[in-house]
Symmetry: D2
Subunit: 312 residues, 4 copies
């Protein structure tokens, strides 16, 4: 069983892909390798069944099998957060209970795309907190690009005040630097408890700037999690220039991997190239890489390797 999620979380929580075989079945051997890879690279947590984990394309049975496999392989070494966003509260509760029983550390919930007004949003997450119950720590996901729901810093703070079990924010509003500043000011002034903020903005494209504003780390996907681990570490020891140097070396490829739609195919391709997963299969409906895309990626990888050698 993994450690319960709490407000002290920091570092890099990697959003995992869900590995399939070339015929589209769950690939549990690759799942194990991916967990090992993440642990070796120094990630401090995992987040599974997110959008980039193709969560909605899994059957309920597959979801459970996958989470179980990840938890078994992680074996309590780092926390594992499970995406539990659902259109209704009964299925949200059903999934949450199931994964918490399996040993998950907490769940992550994004707002449904129908929410518009501040009061609708605050009231929705009040019900989320009640649905999950007092034993389940959770992470609030603020990702307007995918949800269409815009939550101000004030609304986020109201949600955190309402729900003692909400211990983490996955911050991916864009632009969001001013919001980070507002969150830290609010907890410094004691208006709200200190909470963990992990960033996923554009797949980590603003990570160094976000750390400067007080973020605790990253929660996002990228085929080179070591970049995020190293950037967070450099920042933590006060070496801001090094943090940016490392980040900039990976930025051209990170940018390419963050393309909407085709991005997941890029990520899986890179994981396959790196020997982590056996197949870059993406379930339908999903993107496919063209020969030109692959040529682009290989070109960028080569430049990235050269740049990293120069940096030392």
């Amino acid at each position: 069983m993994s450690k319960q999620l709490d407000a002290s979380a920091q570092g890099v929580y990697l959003i995992t892909v869900t590995p399939f075989t070339d015929s589209g079945a769950l690939d549990l051997a690759s799942t194990d390798r991916m967990v090992d890879f993440c642990l070796e690279k120094g990630v401090t947590g995992l987040t599974v069944l997110g959008i980039m984990g193709e969560a909605t394309k899994l059957t309920m049975e597959e979801s459970r099998t996958y989470v179980k496999q990840v938890l078994a392989r992680v074996n309590g070494k780092i926390p594992v957060v499970v995406g539990a966003s659902a259109p209704g509260f009964a299925p949200m509760k059903e999934l949450t209970d199931s994964v918490m029983d399996l040993g998950a550390s907490g769940v992550m919930v994004a707002p449904p795309s129908t929410l518009r007004t501040d009061d609708q949003i605050v009231s929705y997450f009040q019900m989320v907190g009640e649905t999950l119950g007092p034993q389940v720590p959770w992470c609030l996901q603020d990702h307007p690009v995918s949800t269409g729901v815009q939550m101000t810093a004030n609304v986020i703070l109201r949600i955190l005040k309402n729900s003692p079990t909400c211990v983490m924010l996955k911050h991916e509003d864009w632009p969001g630097l001013a919001k980070l500043t507002a969150y830290r000011a609010a907890s410094d002034k004691g208006e709200v408890k200190r909470f963990s903020i992990l960033c996923g903005n554009g797949g980590g494209l603003f990570l160094p700037e976000e750390l400067t504003r007080g973020a605790d780390g990253a929660m996002t996907g990228f085929a080179y999690p070591e970049m995020m681990v190293d950037v967070v570490a450099a920042h933590a020891r006060g070496d801001r220039e090094r943090a940016h140097d490392l980040f900039d070396a990976y930025l051209p490829l990170a940018k390419y991997e963050q393309q909407a739609g085709v991005g997941l195919a890029v990520r899986k391709f890179l994981f396959q190239e790196r020997g982590v997963i056996a197949s870059d299969f993406v379930r339908k409906p999903g993107p496919k890489l063209s020969a030109q895309d692959v040529a682009d990626i290989r070109f960028l990888v080569k430049r990235q390797e050269k740049r990293l050698r120069e940096l030392g």
Copy 2:
């Protein structure tokens, strides 16, 4: 087991509510009474697990229990269609196989709100047809107000040509009269097979006009299904004035029941008032009626009863 859905479907397929007890549990006794009520009123089919059936608020287990109960009570007398829209194909297949095994007549699928271009839509439904397989007849739902997806008549016809198992259209585009005309012209000219068109436009608010344009009937929810049954019957025997007279008598209440958001609460309240279901409980997040809403409804019911007496 109910009869398989086919292109000859006509009349009124009622979108059922899902009855809960006052504490929010599935109410199977009320479910039985609702089925009996529908059969008595002359509906020719049932559609369950639609949006107005609070499908997304049920656990997978509850969904199965509810569908099973409905099918048992219907006992093959009329076809039962099950909503199977899902964000991914694996869960769509999982639910479909499960309900077809239980004896459902077919499933209904609406496009996910992310689809925009004609090609995206056509390609999505090609995959739907492949996912459901050659044994499962299905109904295409065209409801832009809830999905945000606008499908032209041409796109709908392309989908029908691609998928031999798509035998029915739930037409609820608004305005949609010109589309009905286009569909019938296309099948008359032999460009596409003849398919069943049942309308749900604004909860049936355009039913008489839609019948005139060639619709086969209605598929929607309303606390007075007998209105739709009688309107379809009057139209079928060529009595257009009578069809409109009946329709107009119910229109003020139908309009009130079709209010976005609060509408489901109105419908459940009316079903409760009519003795069909035991409780008007709506699961969260959901609307609640105020005392003034109830006063409005009672006033409109009284006027409706008076008008019906005058009509004879």
Copy 3:
């Protein structure tokens, strides 16, 4: 010069169509006839350059010419409100100053579709109030179906508190009955000044219910403004049944006229049939009626006339 708009406004403010000739030019003779027709039917105000007035399809020059013609013909008998929604404040100010100079009574402003959060909305209308200045009374338009902006009753009340010159609400949220109740409770308790509420919900499809909740009247378009005038009058003298009887007689046609897209063509066709405007020309891009649409309309008009004779 027409009387300045103020919070005592009530009755029926008709949203006018903009009459064109068959070749698409502004038709000023028909404009005069339309003004005369409205005055004869007893409307208490006019609203021009709204969405249904094809405002965005006019050049700046045409807008001024049209407003000038309407104001000259009205000749101060009733207030004239001008739609002044604009993507930026400089053009909003430019248009407002121009029409107020011509003698308009006030302007109407809807939120731009980019607004999402409560604070964005409140702050936008603070800037609207500042832009219009202390001499220009204005009407706030709450029409989420067309703008995509959802404003809670609280947000509306915050706007009214911030802006002393905001004297009227064009209420067309749907469902919106609970909001009306909230507005009247707030002004009864003295939390906000009493303001005029005119309803446009679905083109007046909820007028009797809205009057019961405290609305002051209607601001919408319909080819039979006398219906709204008579319903408001019956309600005002306490004859609720008569108000509903009248309303119900027109409801089938009103519903047909309120179809999104094709509705404006229906309205112009009916105004032409009634001899008010010379041509039912709608500027591109715009709807056209088919022969079947025209047959539908004529059928509904005949039934409406019969029903009105029965009512006496």
Copy 4:
């Protein structure tokens, strides 16, 4: 008078900002300096009155004054394209005629956000072509992030086939690399005339990749237009590595400048720092930089300068 826009356009068309004084008035002296700056840096065209030019915040009079000033200063040296998107065709024609009279080279039109289906889009741009007339060359803007309108490569090609005066595509779909490949394949095969493709994707964030796919250059805004000029030049002479080296040096700042919302403030700040414009004033509603934003920008500028020195 500037040269008419034609399909041979290439290089960098800079989207200009509109300079204001600190009190918010048009700043014509800064406008002249900005034009001079662009010419010195080697841009091959200018695009004015785009979204980032705060076009919607100008009065009609200000728009004309600004365009006139730019055209006078450019004095025919390079083409000037004017944004002419408008909600209706009459104002689109009014603005177009006005700026073409002043000597503009052509106009740019984006689809209104209400368009959804392929046919709606194609039909809209057919009307655009007819409205502009046979003498006005135009550029089609494909920017789904701001318009919400998704146009497939096929739809774009249908528009180009329909309208001989459409000579340029401003490509800013994201991801859009596959679309570029499709466009060039179509003109290579002779299915459509060869047209100019200038990219604005994410403010040029994919410029090197887009050039590799056959784009003719960039049309976007960035405070360092010399980057785009140099990247296009390096690519043109076949030095792909140099193109990427230059691009990568600017990427961290470019990324910061492309933040939605705050981006325009960043750009104006940088233009002010570089001595191009006198004030970084942005008209309401618009973003403001915080002290921390400014610190971020200065940090990134310093790193960029260092990197450029290293590159030589």
